[in-house]
C-alpha cells in the first residue's frame, strides 16, 4: 500500500498544524518524523492514518484521495494500517487478549481463527504469558508491546508509531525499538518522536518544527 500527501494543510481552528506537506511513502519505506512539540508530527501521522481530515490538499492511499473513497473502501484501506499510540489506548476493562482481538471484531472470523491470530501477535511481541492480564497490571514496556500486538494483529502493510518510546527506560526503549524494527520488515513504518533515538535508526528522517520544516533524506534505501 502506497501512501502520499499532496500539498496537505491541516488547521485546528486558527492554529495551522501542517502547511503544504507533500510526501511519498512507497511500500516498505521507513520514515522518522521528529521535532519539538507542536511541530505537527502526530497530526501528520494521524492524517496519513485517516484519523484527521485535511483542511486543504490530499492524503492519497494507493494514489486515490482518501476523501473520495466510500465508507467500505476507507474501512478496507484502514484495515491495512496499524497504529501504535503514544498512550497505548488499551482498555483497562478488557484483558490483553481481548484488547488485541478488538481490530478483528468486525471481520467475521471464527472464534478459533481470532484466537490463533491473537496468540500469534502476542507471541511475536513476547506477551503470550500476559494474555489474560488486564493492561492496568502491566508495566509501561509491556503495555507498549500489547499496543504493538494490537497494531500487528491485522497484518498491516503500514505501521504508524506515535512516540513509541515515550516514558520508557533506556533498556525497555531499546527492546521496543528492536521489536518495531523486526516487525516492520516488508512493511512501511512511520514513527513520530521528539528526537531521533539511536536504537531506532530509520532510513529517512523528516524534521518538523512549528516555524520551519526541513526535509533530510539521508537515504531512501
Amino acid at each position: 500500500m502506497e501512501l502520499a500527501t499532496s500539498h496537505l494543510v491541516v488547521d485546528f481552528g486558527p492554529h495551522r498544524a501542517l502547511d503544504d506537506v507533500s510526501l511519498h511513502f512507497p511500500l516498505g519505506s521507513q520514515l522518522l518524523l521528529y521535532g519539538p512539540s507542536g511541530g505537527g508530527k502526530t497530526t501528520l501521522l494521524k492524517a496519513l492514518a485517516g484519523l484527521v481530515l485535511p483542511t486543504r490538499g490530499q492524503v492519497l492511499w494507493n494514489g486515490r484521495d482518501r476523501l473520495t473513497l466510500s465508507r467500505g473502501e476507507t474501512r478496507d484501506a484502514q484495515a491495512h494500517m496499524g497504529m501504535v499510540f503514544q498512550t497505548d489506548a488499551l482498555f483497562d476493562t478488557l484483558t490483553v487478549e481481548r484488547n488485541v482481538a478488538l481490530p478483528l471484531e468486525r471481520k467475521g472470523l471464527s472464534a478459533a481463527a481470532v484466537e490463533e491470530k491473537v496468540a500469534n501477535a502476542l507471541a511475536r511481541v513476547g506477551l503470550k504469558a500476559a494474555a489474560q492480564k488486564r493492561p492496568e497490571h502491566l508495566s509501561g514496556g509491556m503495555r507498549k508491546r500489547a499496543g504493538i500486538a494490537r497494531a500487528l494483529v491485522m497484518e498491516p502493510w503500514v505501521l504508524f508509531a506515535d512516540d513509541p518510546l515515550a516514558g520508557l527506560d533506556p533498556e525497555t526503549a531499546a527492546g521496543i525499538s528492536a521489536l518495531l524494527l523486526e516487525v516492520s520488515h516488508g512493511r512501511t513504518l512511520i514513527a513520530a518522536m521528539p528526537d531521533p533515538h539511536p536504537s531506532l535508526p530509520l532510513a529517512r528522517t523528516l524534521r518538523l518544527t512549528p516555524m520551519a520544516r526541513d526535509v533530510d533524506n539521508r537515504s531512501t534505501a
Binding site: Q86, R106, A151
Partner: protein
C-alpha cells in the same frame, strides 16, 4: 452606530446553545443509527454499571420519597378528614411527580456524572481515537451502548423504585397515622389507574434518555486532562438536572392531558 455589535452579541449568546443542541442531536442520531448492531458485551457491562450498581441508591430514594410524601400529605389528610384518600394522594404524588423527579435528579448525579467522566477519560486518554485507528467506530462500540444502557437502566430502576415507595408509604401510613394497610392500599388500587403508572414510566424514560444524551455529549466534548474530565462530569450533572426540570415542565401537561 455599529450595527454589527448587537448581532455579534446575539451570536455570542446563541452559539453555545446551538452547539449544544447540535451535539445532542448528533448523539441521538448516531445512537439510533447503531441500535441494530450494538456491542452486546458493552451494553451488558453498562447495564450492570448503571443499573445493578445503582440499586441500593434508588431503593433508598424510593423508601425516603414514599415515607416523606405520606408523612407530609398525612397532616393535611387528617386536617381535612380525608384519610381514606391518602393512598391515592401518596401514590399519585410519587408516580407523577416526586418519583420521576427525585430519581431523575439522583440518576443525573450518579449515572450522568459517571458516564460523562468515563467517556471524557476515554477521549482524553486516546482510547476513542484508538478505536478509530483500528477501524472500529467508537460510537458503535462504546458510546451508543452506554446511551442505551443508561436510558434502559434508569427506566427499569424507576419501576422498582415506585414499588418500594408504595410499600414504604403503606408502612409509614400505618405506623405514623394508624391507617390500616387495607384502607391505604384500597384507595391506592381503587383510584389510581394503569395510565398513571404508564405516564410515570414514560416520564422516567424521557428523563433517563435526556440524562444519557446530555452526559454523553458532555463527555465527548471534553478536552484536556483531569480538568477536562472534571468539567465534563460537572456539566453532565448541571445540564442533566436542568434538562429534567425543563422536560418535567414541558411533558407533564401533555402526558396528563393524554393519559388522564
Amino acid at each position: 452606530m455599529n450595527t454589527a455589535a448587537p448581532l455579534r452579541t446575539l451570536g455570542r449568546v446563541a452559539l453555545p446553545g446551538i452547539r449544544a443542541a447540535g451535539a445532542l442531536t448528533l448523539v441521538l442520531a448516531r445512537t439510533l443509527r447503531h441500535l441494530p448492531h450494538l456491542s452486546g458485551r458493552e451494553c451488558l457491562r453498562s447495564l450492570v454499571l448503571y443499573g445493578y450498581q445503582s440499586l441500593p441508591l434508588t431503593l433508598g430514594v424510593g423508601t425516603l420519597a414514599g415515607a416523606t410524601v405520606v408523612l407530609q400529605a398525612g397532616i393535611y389528610a387528617e386536617r381535612f378528614g380525608a384519610r381514606q384518600y391518602l393512598g391515592w394522594a401518596g401514590g399519585y404524588a410519587v408516580l407523577w411527580e416526586f418519583g420521576p423527579l427525585l430519581l431523575g435528579l439522583v440518576m443525573a448525579g450518579r449515572v450522568g456524572a459517571r458516564n460523562a467522566a468515563e467517556l471524557a477519560l476515554l477521549k482524553t486518554n486516546g482510547q476513542l481515537e484508538g478505536l478509530r485507528g483500528i477501524s472500529l467506530d467508537p460510537f458503535r462500540y462504546l458510546v451508543a451502548p452506554r446511551v442505551v444502557a443508561s436510558a434502559v437502566a434508569i427506566t427499569c430502576l424507576a419501576t422498582l423504585t415506585y414499588f418500594v415507595a408504595a410499600l414504604w408509604e403503606t408502612v409509614a401510613a400505618y405506623f405514623a397515622l394508624g391507617l390500616p394497610a387495607r384502607v391505604f392500599l384500597g384507595s391506592f388500587a381503587d383510584m389510581l389507574r394503569p395510565n398513571d403508572v404508564l405516564g410515570s414510566l414514560l416520564k422516567t424514560a424521557v428523563f433517563g434518555t435526556a440524562i444519557a444524551l446530555v452526559s454523553t455529549a458532555a463527555g465527548l466534548a471534553a478536552q484536556g486532562g483531569a480538568r477536562g474530565v472534571g468539567r465534563a462530569a460537572a456539566a453532565a450533572v448541571v445540564f442533566g438536572c436542568a434538562s429534567i426540570f425543563a422536560l418535567d415542565f414541558l411533558i407533564t401537561p401533555l402526558l396528563a392531558r393524554w393519559l388522564t
